[in-house]
């Protein structure tokens, strides 16, 4: 008598079990995650993929763009006229300040020359960009804008709108650039309080949370309603740009530092048009820090610019 075959007939053969496959692909994903977050090996792959996907994404946006164009075309004449007169009024209202600015700048330059100080650092040129869309990633506060390395935008450039600082260019692709907003967890802006000239650093706190001034002494001269301007110490943002307003100051005697909650002044994720400031080369090189070599040896993880 022939023994009953115990092997699985080919018809039922399904290869490795789902659990084995899950283990294999799970380990593979973890390896990818590790390689990407730790060493950023995959940045080049990302560049290529984004370049390939760009036409697809622009194509997908076409219906929306066409709709906006058509509704805009048939938009009422009165609406346009209203908007036009409003913009003209705004322009006139800002006129004196602008004229005064040129004079003040001139005077400032002369005084600085008298005092033999380094000329103040201003972004020489800027590029206007339009926001394409915000990042899908719910963990990051990022925008994509419609110009990239083709328009000369470089990573690290500051981005502002009409009311204040929006963020910083963090990645540049051929036809678009990624802007990390100042509310992002990895973003920090050196600021100075307009009223009392106290310097501090504004740290983003992630999605849905207000940015804060961290490591500020409870005795620092800060009040609710104070405006924070960029201090220009980082060389990324020119000094004097509006950044945020203090909305809450909590001085708890049990804590080392005061908790200072701020509200960004720029329409962080509402503005449609932004200005990318070109970082100028006027910034002198950073002097060698005395303890830099030792710190590097210890491998302290800084909150570096990405």
């Amino acid at each position: 008598m022939r023994p009953i075959p115990v092997y699985t007939p080919a018809f039922f053969n399904r290869g490795p079990s789902p659990l084995a496959r899950l283990a294999f692909f799970g380990v593979l994903s973890l390896a990818l995650l590790f390689a990407d977050t730790r060493y950023r090996y995959l940045e080049n792959v990302r560049q290529v993929v984004v370049a390939v996907l760009y036409p697809v994404q622009r194509g997908l946006q076409m219906p929306g763009v066409a709709f906006a164009y058509v509704t805009g075309y048939f938009g009422s004449k009165r609406e346009l006229a209203d908007e036009n007169s409003m913009l003209k009024q705004e322009l006139v209202a800002r006129g004196p300040a602008t004229q005064g600015f040129a004079r003040a700048q001139d005077e400032n330059a002369r005084l600085r020359a008298l005092l033999d100080m380094r000329t103040q650092y201003y972004a020489a040129t800027s590029t206007a960009v339009q926001v394409l869309y915000s990042s899908r990633d719910p963990f990051a506060q990022k925008l994509f804008v419609d110009k990239g390395s083709n328009a000369g935008i470089v990573a690290g450039a500051g981005v502002v709108d009409e009311n204040g600082v929006v963020g910083q260019v963090t990645r540049v692709f051929p036809f678009m650039a990624e802007v990390t907003l100042i509310t992002d967890r990895d973003q920090a802006v050196p600021v100075q309080v307009e009223r009392s000239a106290v310097r501090s650093v504004l740290f983003g706190n992630g999605t849905g949370r207000a940015p804060e001034l961290r490591f500020t002494s409870p005795s620092a001269d800060l009040r609710i309603g104070d405006r924070l301007l960029t201090s220009g110490l980082d060389g990324t943002y020119p000094p004097g740009l509006a950044v945020a307003e203090i909305v809450d100051v909590v001085r708890d005697s049990g804590q080392m530092f005061a908790r200072i909650v701020c509200k960004p002044l720029a329409g962080i994720d509402q503005s449609e048009y932004l200005l990318v400031l070109w970082p100028s080369a006027a910034m002198p090189p950073r002097p060698e820090e005395p303890g830099a070599a030792e710190a590097a040896k210890k491998g302290g993880r800084g909150r570096g610019r990405r």
Binding site: P18, S29, L30, R136, E178, G206
Partner: protein, 180 residues
């Protein structure tokens, strides 16, 4: 033949109905369309509420056609999703692989339930998938997002009946033939 309560022409196939095999090109097309739907750039509320279409369609095919679509396919599409997202490589790949495994584990049971009860079980899987992405990002150093982070998977589960019926339509025999 047992007379079933009428389901209407636009409803799930009854247990008596014999479905035609799904065509591989249709499976691939539906997955690609779902990927594109995920990558359409939107902003604001639409972005916060958009369900993960790819996860839904993958889940459907993992349950219906486990011989065509399994952990491996889910992983590859997860990788495409990561690439399109330009975030961290591997997060969606991992989440979708686990999702496909969950579907494999659930599939024999899920199909016995009516669609809305299936949707509840799908919700559990989708939330699990979202929490896995959250865990990956949390370990990577992100802060916890707002609770609205769980809205897209729940909306995805609400869409489950619609997605199942839509994806089943090409496999159903035409009405004229099913009458005799």
């Amino acid at each position: 033949m047992r007379v079933l309560p009428s389901v209407g022409s636009f409803g799930p196939a009854s247990h008596d109905e014999i479905l035609r095999p799904a065509k591989p090109w249709f499976i691939l097309l539906s997955l690609l369309l779902a990927l594109v739907a995920n990558l359409v750039p939107v902003s604001g509320t639409a972005l916060a509420l958009r369900p993960d279409f790819l996860a839904l369609v993958l889940l459907y095919w993992c349950i219906q056609q486990p011989r065509f679509v399994g952990v491996g396919t889910a992983w590859v599409f997860g990788l495409l999703m990561d690439v399109g997202d330009a975030t961290v490589f591997g997060q969606h790949a991992l989440a979708y692989a686990v999702l496909a495994y969950g579907a494999e584990y659930f599939r024999r049971r899920v199909l016995r339930f009516p669609l809305w009860q299936q949707a509840v079980q799908v919700a559990v899987l989708l939330v699990l998938c979202a929490l896995l992405v959250l865990l990956v990002r949390f370990v990577g150093g992100s802060t916890l997002p707002h609770w609205t982070y769980l809205e897209p998977p729940l909306i995805g589960a609400l869409l489950w009946p619609l997605v199942s019926v839509l994806l089943q339509t090409p496999q159903r025999p035409s009405r004229s033939r099913s009458r005799n």
